[in-house]
């Protein structure tokens, strides 16, 4: 039996009502499985004591949960207004070129998924790029090759 089960039991105890453990449990399941595959959702549901349908209903509401496979790395470029005003689209395109994927896609080798994302809450430090959920600020198109190289080097 997976450790997810026992992790989720611990999460449930954090809250007065176990239902509140849903998002943390999904986060754990995604972390362990890479994405929320049907099996991950089933496992999560069994651990929570609910149904996989309920888990999917919740997971599919939130942008950070992936119901389809994603790359080893997540590259998310904010393209909301503040970032767009200072060139977010060009940053996104630079990543497309450097990673060899279209926005919204995962590279063929499974290395990275690139996607535009709504406001990341760093408008004053535009363009914001979230790489594996850590922000890079003031990103310019010319910074992109170095960022991708760092990723490839496993920095």
């Amino acid at each position: 039996m997976s450790e997810l089960y026992s992790d989720v039991q611990r999460l449930k105890e954090t809250y007065p009502d176990w239902h509140s453990a849903m998002l943390p449990a999904l986060r754990e399941a995604q972390h362990k499985h890479g994405y929320l595959s049907p099996d991950a959702l089933r496992e999560c549901a069994d651990a929570l004591g609910t149904t996989p349908a309920v888990c999917e209903a919740v997971a599919s509401f939130y942008d950070m949960f992936h119901l389809a496979p994603v790359g080893e790395h997540m590259v998310e470029v904010c393209t909301n207004v503040a970032c767009a005003l200072v060139g977010a689209q060009q940053v996104l395109e630079a990543f497309e070129q450097e990673l060899g994927v279209q926005a919204g896609e995962t590279s063929a080798d499974g290395f990275a998924t690139l996607r535009p994302i709504e406001c990341l809450g760093g408008c004053g430090w535009a363009t914001i790029v979230s790489i594996d959920h850590h922000y890079r600020t003031h990103v310019k198109p010319e910074d992109v090759p170095e960022i991708v190289q760092e990723l490839r080097d496993g920095a």
């Binding site: 998002l23 207004v81 709504e118 430090w125």
Partner: protein, 440 residues
């Protein structure tokens, strides 16, 4: 320049460290508050005239006073902090949590005392890894400090990427492990909130303002600012300015000063075209409307608001139709799908705006856009749809000529010279349906 209260000492010291924070008098307000009765703390905050910094501007002390006393409702009380900052243009809570976590936590503990709660949930947006880690560190340092925590449990609950969870009832739904769809009000959270128990939902900046208020005394705090907008405010300035960033200002400072003094003016010698004054949900101001105080009443006179204090500055290269598309796409993407006008209307708005930008729209469709906005506005379950409609309608209202030009000239007069040209939005990534799209 007004005194910094929320961000005080943050530039010269590392206030993420407990010792540093205590060295500048940290947690003394908490000790002071705990000497007071809960009611006295509420009175003090009411005297400060503090209003919520999340965007709705509701008087904080009054919100706390709505919480029924334990003898009126036996259920436990909860304090839920809205740290789901997601409004385009706002990034102040990010910086507050990352740089003054203890001032924020101190505010939470004082508030917990005031509303007689022993559990605090901080709903922090899922993408905020940095601030989350800072708060985890701060709470770890507090683990051994029962004198500070005083039996209160603070749980950091991470969101998972949904703007709507910044709406307080959607946040509560999400915190209860559900899809983050707003509830109908009444009942208000103060009566039936988290787990149907009395709950105060406050914004991060509001919490970070509480300790300074207790320090200064409510009346002293209320001397800052202007009527109905007391004290200071952390304003996020972004877009086309030389020095974007968060600035703590005294309420009532002029918008011009925000853009030109704090922000350093428009880069590249370009002209100001417009400014979004309080995050994407607010009515836009034209370049000639910036001689206005940055406070509730002054902005209300221009039918707009401070909102979440996200000032986005746009220079003269920007196409307002393109802005409309990007904002409409944002709301379409973030609509929760519960109520009809928002779910269907924001999608329709985007469709019409795209047609306008492409030059395929006729006069009727420009009128239709306004009509659709009007039909959304005021009909929705929560403010998301309403604000989407108000914001986009304000672009048409303030820049009607430019929209008309798109119709008359059969295309966009700015094209790719506008920085908002062809920006890829997440909503455009959606495969709209598994089946092929057929004409209506």
């Amino acid at each position: 320049m007004a005194p910094e209260l929320v961000l005080a000492h943050a530039r010269e010291r590392d206030l993420t460290k407990l010792a540093e924070y205590e060295a500048v008098g940290g947690y003394q307000a908490l000790a002071k508050a705990r000497e007071m009765t809960p009611q006295a703390v509420i009175d003090e905050v009411q005297a400060s005239e503090l209003r919520g910094r999340g965007g709705a501007f509701f008087p904080t002390g009054r919100k706390w006073a709505f919480i029924p006393k334990p003898d009126q409702n036996p259920n436990p009380h909860y304090l839920v902090v809205n740290a789901d900052e997601s409004e385009p243009g706002s990034f102040k809570d990010n910086e507050i949590m990352a740089t003054v976590p203890h001032r924020f936590i101190e505010g939470c503990l004082i508030t917990a005392h005031a509303v007689e709660a022993t559990r605090v949930f901080v709903y922090i947006r899922g993408e905020y890894t940095g601030p989350y880690e800072v708060l985890v560190g701060a709470l770890e340092e507090l683990q051994s400090r029962d004198d500070i925590l005083g039996g209160v449990t603070i749980v950091l609950h991470r969101g998972a990427g949904a703007y709507i969870c910044g709406e307080e009832t959607a946040l509560l739904e999400s915190l209860e492990g559900k899809r983050g769809q707003p509830r109908t009000k009444p009942p208000f959270p103060a009566i039936e909130g988290l787990y149907r128990s009395p709950t105060v939902v406050n914004n991060v900046e509001t919490m970070a303002t509480i300790a300074p208020i207790i320090d200064l005394g409510g009346a002293e705090y209320a001397k800052l600012g202007v009527p109905d907008s007391r004290g200071t405010r952390v304003v996020s300035i972004s877009g086309h300015v030389e020095r974007p960033g968060n600035y703590e200002i005294e309420n009532g400072t002029s918008m011009r000063s925000l853009i030109y003094d704090l922000g350093g003016g428009i880069p590249g010698g370009r002209a100001l075209k417009a400014v979004i004054p309080g995050g994407s949900s607010t009515v836009i101001l034209r370049y000639d409307e910036i001689d206005v105080g940055y406070d509730f009443n002054s902005l209300l006179a221009l039918k707009t608001a401070m909102g979440s204090a996200g000032v986005v500055v746009l220079d003269d290269r920007c196409c307002m139709v393109q802005l409309g598309i990007r904002i409409s796409e944002f709301y379409e993407h973030e609509s929760c799908g519960k109520c009809t006008p928002c779910r269907e209307g924001t999608r329709w708005m985007t469709q019409i705006l795209r047609r306008l930008e492409a030059g395929d729209a006729d006069q009727g469709e420009l009128d239709l856009l306004l009509s659709v906005c009007d039909r959304i506005n005021g009909k929705c379950l929560c403010p998301l749809g309403d604000t989407a409609a108000i914001a986009v309608a304000s672009y048409v209202d303030k820049f009607r000529g430019e929209f008309q030009q798109h119709v008359d000239e059969g295309g966009c007069p700015f094209g790719d010279s506008s920085p908002l040209h062809n920006v890829l939005a997440p909503v455009a990534m959606r495969t709209h349906s598994p089946a092929a799209v057929v004409p209506a």
